[in-house]
């Protein structure tokens, strides 16, 4: 067979180096070409990650046993010899950027699997990559001081699951820097400064949200084919909102990043919620940041509990905590007392009596009061059981007003009672006691002290936010409450107006452990009506106007853009088949009962829609029995489109 010249550019020689020319025959296989090429460059190094990229066809020549003829390569082919793994700047859901080696030659699905393996995120099929939102040019200055964590040194492993060391993949245990990176991955970030939230891009409408979903990369094609270059920025995000088998013990990074994504979705109003829900989200964020600061080891140590024994131990402790142990019972019986002079006011109709001072005694879940300390041995003037009551703060630091407002249920209705405390210290104690009492707990409860602490820190927040105007960098004790809510509420409320509202919501979550708080946050997020919806602007067949298709884990919804209402819901389990006509880029779906819909996609490629639907069906096929291995083939069959055939 006749020999001909083949010119190949070798990336490692630099961009300006001339291509290396080889004399090849058409029956030479790709492996042979590479061998020849490497010999000719006379560079001694590990070439194992390198492969040939055919520029005109936008295709990798990965089958080394195929001949040039079989690939259809002739002398005019522009071939590039380069590594398959290249560094990218990967932006995590937490907003932190990592620099790491990503595979440019495999389908994005596998690239994501590789990244997740490196970062110790289970269930990589739920995540994907998307192109970042283009920033305006003025952002340059910010890019410079952006901290980038470098993970490019991590060796590429093919093991399906990295071996763990101290609860983290072994490559993170190499050095203290690496360990710091793992900590960054697995510990939630502190609340962002309000200005940072305000500066971020916020989708203002469903259509804006739809545009974001047009940025997803195609899972069945490789990064190279999608125009991603070395050192480009790409986002790693949870794409399919069907979170399977979350196990806090193994999913430290996954949970943390999921929380971060949820938190930002709330802060940037990517998902709508009510004001009450926003306050609860704020309270949880506050709590999570506080707990993760005070016990930063908790999450990683719980991850370290790999061996069964320690897991069992913790279980035991938990069980013991739940059942009544002797010591606990002893405590209950010798519960501490809380006694002090307080002022009480009962707003009854037509009475203008002010606050009167009495000697107060807190016992079990009740408050009793007496004329004076000396008379406290006898019968109290009144005894109020706080169980089931509502407790609300009424505090003004500047005016030194420390009121506890109690709504006490009685057969006739709710009785309003105000308790006035003299100072912060007294207030924190009695407020904490009232809160415990309202939940039917006594002062012996272990949470009493922490409750006092949290009340004090909220008071401190109010103090700092009322004295300065939020320009003080958030110290660890006080957080600007604007950091916890979306910008809408920055305008609506001042920090000190916000503080009591968040504190109010906080009392229901203050006892949660870090993991529980994160889980609670995710649960409330998932319970929002719009949770899990990815939007695409579409044009239904036969319709003249744009409408929005919402794709959820279990259903498709059709939203009328004019009204903003959901006009129609189709559930996947009624779906009989779906087709994509790739020529006219139209998606057609048939549901049971002879319901047929067809639409073309406006803000996203129809491949993205196709992948969403197929992907969710794939997610629903995962089940416990089917072991942990990811059925990649099935995913591609369901989402691949015509390339998969």
């Amino acid at each position: 067979m006749a020999a001909w010249d083949l010119a190949i550019s070798v990336e490692d020689l630099g961009p300006d180096a001339p291509p290396v020319t080889l004399s090849v025959a058409s029956d030479l296989h790709v492996g042979g070409v590479i061998l020849k090429l490497v010999e000719k460059t006379q560079i001694k190094r590990d070439w194992s990650d390198h492969a040939l990229w055919w520029e005109q066809k936008q295709q990798w020549l990965l089958r080394t046993s195929w001949t040039l003829e079989k690939y259809g390569i002739h002398a005019d082919a522009r071939l590039l010899f380069m590594p398959q793994h290249k560094p990218v700047r990967l932006c995590l859901p937490s907003g932190i950027t990592l620099r790491l080696l990503a595979c440019f030659s495999n389908p994005v699905f596998q690239t994501v699997m590789g990244i997740c393996r490196m970062l110790n995120i289970r269930r990589p099929e739920e995540l994907s990559l998307l192109r970042p939102i283009e920033h305006k040019k003025k952002k340059k200055a910010k890019d410079l001081d952006e901290e980038i964590y470098d993970l490019t040194e991590v060796p590429l492993s093919s093991a399906s699951r990295p071996c763990l060391y101290n609860g983290m993949p072994a490559h993170f245990a190499d050095s203290s820097q690496m360990e710091a990176i793992y900590k960054m991955l697995s510990v939630t970030q502190p609340p962002p400064a309000p200005e940072v939230i305000a500066k971020q891009y916020r989708p203002a409408s469903v259509v804006d949200k739809a545009h974001i979903h047009g940025r997803w990369l195609d899972s069945s094609r490789c990064l190279m084919q999608q125009g991603i270059q070395e050192n480009d920025q790409i986002w790693l995000r949870f794409k399919f909102f069907a979170f399977y088998d979350i196990e806090p013990k193994y999913d430290v990074v996954r949970l943390t990043q999921l929380y971060e994504q949820a938190r930002w979705a709330i802060l940037l109003e990517d998902i709508d919620c009510t004001e009450e829900e926003m306050m609860l989200f704020g309270a949880l964020q506050y709590h999570i940041s506080k707990v993760s600061q005070s016990e930063p080891q908790m999450m990683s140590s719980s991850a370290a509990m790999d061996d069964l024994e320690s897991a069992l131990q913790s279980l035991e402790v938990k069980m013991e905590g739940e059942s009544s142990t002797a010591s606990e019972m002893l405590e209950t019986m010798t519960a501490p007392d809380l006694n002090d002079y307080l002022k009480i006011f009962r707003p009854k109709r037509l009475t203008l009596k002010g606050y009167k001072q009495y000697w107060f005694k807190f016992q079990d879940t009740s408050i009793s009061y007496f004329k004076s300390k000396e008379e406290s041995i006898g019968e109290p003037i009144q005894k109020i059981n706080l169980k089931g009551c509502e407790v609300a703060p009424d505090v003004n630091m500047a005016a030194q007003k420390f009121l506890i407002r109690l709504l006490i249920p009685a057969p006739e209705g709710m009785n309003e009672v105000y308790l006035r405390c003299e100072n912060e210290q007294q207030y924190a104690q009695w407020m904490a006691a009232c809160r415990l009492g309202s939940k039917g707990k006594t002062l012996a409860d272990s949470s009493f002290q922490s409750e006092i602490q949290s009340i004090r820190s909220f008071l401190a927040m109010q103090k700092s936010s009322s004295s300065s105007h939020g320009n003080v960098p958030a110290s660890d004790e006080s957080i600007n409450t604007h950091s916890l809510v979306s910008p809408r509420y920055h305008k609506k409320y001042k920090p000190k107006q916000l503080t009591p509202r968040i504190l109010d919501a906080y009392q229901n979550v203050a006892q949660l452990s870090l993991t529980d708080a994160v889980m609670r946050f995710l649960q409330i997020w998932q319970a929002l009506p719009d949770f899990g919806l990815s939007y695409v602007v579409v044009r239904f067949k036969g319709s003249r106007k744009d409408e929005v298709l919402g794709i959820a884990p279990n259903r498709l919804i059709r939203i009328d853009l004019g009204v903003g209402d959901v006009v129609k819901t189709w559930r996947y389990n009624n779906m009989k088949q779906w087709n994509v006509n790739w020529d006219i880029r139209q998606v057609a779906i048939e549901f049971e009962g002879n319901v047929n819909i067809a639409f073309s996609c406006v803000t996203a490629d129809c491949k993205i829609v196709h992948e969403f639907i197929g992907g969710y069906i794939f997610m629903s096929t995962r089940s416990r029995e089917k072991s942990d291995t990811l059925n990649e083939e099935l995913f591609h069959k369901l989402t691949g489109g015509h390339e998969a055939l």
């Binding site: 249920p409 409330i524 719009d530 069959k637």
Partner: protein
Amino acid sequence: MQSGAALRKDNNKTRINTFEKMDDIDAMFSDLLGEMDLLTQSLGQETVPPASPPSTNKEVNFSIGFTDQNESLNELEDTDLDALMADLVADLNATEEKLAAEIQASSTGSSVSTPASSATSPIPPPQSSKPTKEEIEAQMKADKIKLALEKLKEAKVKKLVVKFLLNDGSAKTLMVDERQTVREVLDNLFEKTHCDCNVDWSLCETNHELQLERTFEDHENLVEPLLAWTRDSENKILFQERREKNEVFKNPQNFYLWKKDKKALKDIKDKDKELLVQENFCGTSIIVPDLEAVLHLKEDGKKSWKQRLFQLRASGIYYVPKGKTKSSRDLVCFVQFDNLNVYYGKDFKSKYKAPTDFCFVLKHPQIQKESQYIKYLCCDDARTMNLWVTGIRIAKYGVSLYENFKTSEKKAAVSSVWTNRSTPSSSNPSTPSPTIKAKSPNQANGHAPTPQPGPISADFGNIPPPPPPMAEILPPPPPDPAFPPPPSLPSKGSPKPSLPQRKLPTNFPPPPPSMDNLPPPPPPPPIDDAPPDFLPPPPPTSGFGSLPPPPPPMSSLPLPPPPASFGRMDQSLPPPPPDPEFLPPPPPEPVFTGGGGGPPPPPPPPPPPAAGGGGGFPRPALRPVGSVKKMPPAPPKRTTPSLQGGGGDGDLMSELMLAMNKKRGAH
């Protein structure tokens, strides 16, 4: 029963006496214990109704529904008194058993056989363990303190005599203590009434003055809401079947797909119902039905009803303020559910001039009289009202509702006889042990059921062996050979209480000789006492007593077909649960899995004839690969006839997998 209990008390005493020469505190505690024992014993012997329980410090005995104590006593019929008596005794026994068990569990490493040994031998259990003498002593001391505290606590427990009104106008009276859940009380009532135990049985609270009615949730404690009643209240507790309690699990489509037209909802397949329950109750988060409706509201003590557009969310009820959009951020919070219960209103049209009689009410459970803090809502029709009340319950109680349902379903399937009396929370896997233990000594000691007053003996004596509960609720056991008889005592070898170990048949045949050198080896006890984590009650020990010892027919049943065992064992039982209520056997058999329990819904109409080949699941269509137009991927092949005969009940995954395998094979 009683003799068993007495024996137990002796044990306690022995233990106490052994350590009389300790320091003061010990002596004090011992005294205390002795006293309490005396008290309890006297309780057990006297026939006088225990008007006041052995409370040392506090008068806690109320009687609900009667104006004074005497009246209540007079009204109780003799049998009821006996029943109460028996309950009380059983109660005390159970507590003691539990105590003993706890002590042993904490003092010895292996608690496997101790409960049995404590029943048969007077040796204090801790001596069977090996630690040093000091340790033992320390442990003893701790145990005693614990015991004493436990007793003190016990004395403080509030108990109520509650009258439950039945549909036929009669009433049952039970003693309920404050730790008991509604579920446990229901179980007790099942025993007393011999009803069919279906999942609809409920306890309802009626408020006479406010004309309200509420079905208690099974996980709630019963005593607490009753304590909120006023002294002169005419409130009642009803024991009735309430369909709406578990309706959301039987017909979830009516709640989660309420917007669809009625016909579509009626035609929904069982498989789809199951999926809905899965989606909304088995995920990481409980999903509350997305309700929105214009309701009439009467609040703040006003007389008039005004209309508002309300929305239900997991976080509360909201309304859309006038002139605003329905967007979440504009919603105004109407109520959150932390301190509120939801009640049905009765006859509000005449009482409050409500637009319709389909009203529900939100109020703090303590409020018993008219108050501005009560919120009255009125719906256009019954369906809307049920939607909202159920939706609010889901938002308030979350996954507990589903757990309650599953527990009651299990209960319905097992049978009405084998109930846990007086045990704390039968749903908690670790707690049923006390009852188990309370019962096993009976057998272990070979006590024939002595004639005793009250339902305890009735349960054990009159009713032949309860049907083996496991047979229905467990997957068929693996073939016998896997378990060579004697060494495979599950209690020892396998600390993990995995369900399959409950294979009754395999355990019976050989009276295990290797059994922990207990002198008299009655077959069942060690198994019973073993890991307390078994959910279902133990094998019917009482049943064995009356059966020829090793029941060969049972052991030879390879797969226990429930009906067979039923037919044999179940003679004078209340109607056995209908088959469809058995829990699903492991292989996906659509016929079984669908029947959630209770009155089965009308059978789904036959599926449309081969409409979709495989039926109701999204199957990417397969087009010939070589067609002119490029087509999407199509894993499942359409060429083969659908697996389950076009019924649309094929499982999506298996279908897909099968098709894919075929395809792979074809290549």
